[in-house]
Symmetry: C2
């Protein structure tokens, strides 16, 4: 139904991007730290934000600017969170003003985001100085450098684009994202910028984004902390020329599925890139009485440090899966539960109806040694299911998180 | 008000204990794995249990046996959790039966507990064979070996006893405990056995235990998982001869405070012994609008892997303290918050009114390098406060938790 294409956020018609090192990171020109994404035409705009009570200034400024459901672009820096520091609100406003001056638009046309260390003042002068050059270099090849510019502790660049047919026209979606630390469900989550040339109202764009985020970004757990700065912004400029989506019709469903595919890709990429991790862990809970129960149980499995440590050690410690689910307060009957471990190397059933199944330990270790491991739990109580993503916990993750500021 | 004394669970009049290796652990005679605590007279008995939905069989059997508020003793094994395995209920009952046969009492006179690996069947035959010898060796010097017998991954033995004057008589309390892994609030928590010769009704003993557990054990976080097996049992045999405590009078208050002192000591010892940890972390949140808010915020601080990793690295990463509190959903105003780090080496103020304070980094690192570190948060919003305990997160903890079964 969708084709994966290249081009990231610049794949949809009418979007350009660029990024460069301005000096926020203080690490030299090989590390871009400020990026700009701009549309040729006004976009329907929507965003979801962190639910952390401590919200960075850029989030408040973006909320204000997107209140009318319209925007033209996004300006973002890495290296500094612009949170819990003096003049953070003024700095976030100044970033929009500088982006507007460099592109001939208004400050209110921009969403603004920051990511990096909390509590240090933002070097706004460096950003103001750098933005005209970045704007001058905006191009349809700029998605890659933009994806790089928002990386902090990420080990890999996160970028994707899809195309599909909608109302007789080719419609495209693209995204760049960052996030490998402080990722936890129940928030608008990490930084993700989604562009599309689909014609859709800002109301439906927001509804779709909110619903998709709940099923994708909010089901990723890396270290259990949420961030003050996380947000996901979607811009739709309508340049594909498809009939405007203004009802929840078939076209909306198709757009929704494409958005879900984009966000699922990003969510998995973020989980796989969990700081210091060695593997992507997917927990699928099925046979549940409701999707909510399945989600709460799956989340508690991918959140458990003990399970994460045992997966690093390739140990099929299904007792910890039982205990993590039991601690979640979601209702289920332990004596009905099957636990199965799966990967491209095969699958083993470790627990049947709440008790140990005969287990070939060497086989289990081989299965758990793969880059992607699935913990498949069957509650045998209903028809609903949910999937959550996480990663293993390693000694390197601890060292990494301890030394983040050094 | 209280004097710390020696003797552990055998310090109160009329209590004896003993333990030995029976073969549950399979590690040889130097590791005792079954213990017995017995009173000369019938005791008022109370217990609190894990809130995990997966509860081991010994908990259900103990609930049944303590229903009448009376007991004579406790039988316990380490090395096997007797949970999620075949015939676990029968095995827990058989342990009580064997303890009764060895001591001339009834099975219903015993609380029973197990700790160890989940999913493996209990070697009940070995326990039945060993209990007569353990019963024959019951002594007033048996607290130490009992404390050893319940250790699993614990690095240190947990034991305490206090004496005080109550109604003109000397009253004593003693406790042994285990717990260094799968410790998390919201449960009856880990294994802790408390003895006292105080005369108190089982109703008031239970009320006191429940209230004290909420302020002590339930405020300890080590790795965020709860266990299927955790419980705390208190036995009061009345042999001190104090006037029976049957109202919430002054004597009750005094007993309550002694019980709180015992449980606080154990709670701190458990936090300090967190698997692989290097330091005890205390988070005190004060200036809160309610104790509940203070507790939720303090718990989220000691639960944060990112904060725990930064404490291992001796990094005063107060931004993570803000973020962890912000993610807790408890109400507070970030812009009012002060964060101070304290230890026996001194104190540093890292954050004032939500923003960075000028920080001498070398000084801060010295303070955070101590064996006990306090994170002191002032919300400046009220008069209430709460204290929670935890530990740092180290690469060793991850290796340890990954290799637990090997």
């Amino acid at each position: 139904m969708f084709n994966e294409i290249t081009g990231g956020v610049c794949a949809p018609a009418g979007f350009k991007a660029n990024a460069a090192w301005c000096g926020v990171k203080g690490k030299g020109p090989e590390k871009p730290d400020v990026a700009l994404i701009l549309s040729e035409q006004e976009c329907a705009a929507a965003a979801v934000y962190t639910l952390n009570r401590v919200k960075a200034a850029p989030l408040y400024v973006t909320m204000e600017h997107l209140e009318n459901g319209c925007a033209w672009g996004i300006v973002v820096n890495s290296g500094c969170a612009n949170a819990c520091c003096p003049r953070s609100h003024e700095s976030a406003q100044a970033m929009c003003k500088a982006a507007a001056a460099a592109t001939g638009r208004e400050p209110e046309d921009f969403a603004v985001a920051s990511t990096g260390v909390i509590g240090q003042p933002l070097n706004i002068g460096a950003i103001e100085k750098g933005l005209p050059g970045i704007a001058a270099g905006l191009s349809e090849d700029g998605s890659g450098v933009t994806a790089e510019a928002i990386m902090t502790t990420d080990r890999s660049k996160k970028e994707i684009a899809l195309s599909m047919e909608l109302g007789g026209r080719e419609v495209r979606l693209g995204a760049v994202a960052k996030g490998s630390c402080m990722i936890h469900p129940n928030m608008g989550t990490m930084l993700c910028f989604i562009t599309t040339d689909c014609a859709i109202t800002s109301q439906l764009l927001e509804e779709a984004l909110r619903e998709v985020a709940a099923k994708t970004f909010n089901r990723v757990v890396v270290d259990g902390d949420t961030s003050s700065n996380d947000m996901c912004v979607a811009l739709a400029n309508g340049m594909a020329g498809n009939p405007l989506i203004e009802w929840k019709d078939e076209d909306y469903q198709k757009f929704f599925q494409a958005l879900e595919a984009v966000c699922t890709h990003i969510a998995r990429a973020i989980a796989a890139d969990g700081a210091g991790s060695t593997k992507l862990v997917t927990c699928r809970v099925r046979g549940a009485r409701s999707e909510e129960v399945a989600e709460r149980l799956a989340k508690s499995v991918v959140s458990s440090d003990l399970i994460k440590a045992s997966l690093f050690a390739c140990d099929p410690h299904w007792g910890r899966v039982m205990i993590a689910m039991g601690g979640s307060k979601a209702p289920f009957r332990p004596e009905h539960v099957d636990v199965c471990y799966r990967s491209q190397a095969g699958e083993v059933l470790a627990c049947v109806r709440g008790e140990a199944a005969p287990l070939d330990m060497d086989r289990a270790r081989e299965i758990l040694a793969q880059k992607e491991v699935v913990i498949d739990v069957d509650l045998h109580e209903g028809e609903e299911e949910a999937v959550c993503w996480g990663c293993d916990l390693t000694p390197e993750a601890v060292l990494h998180n301890g030394n983040y500021r050094k």
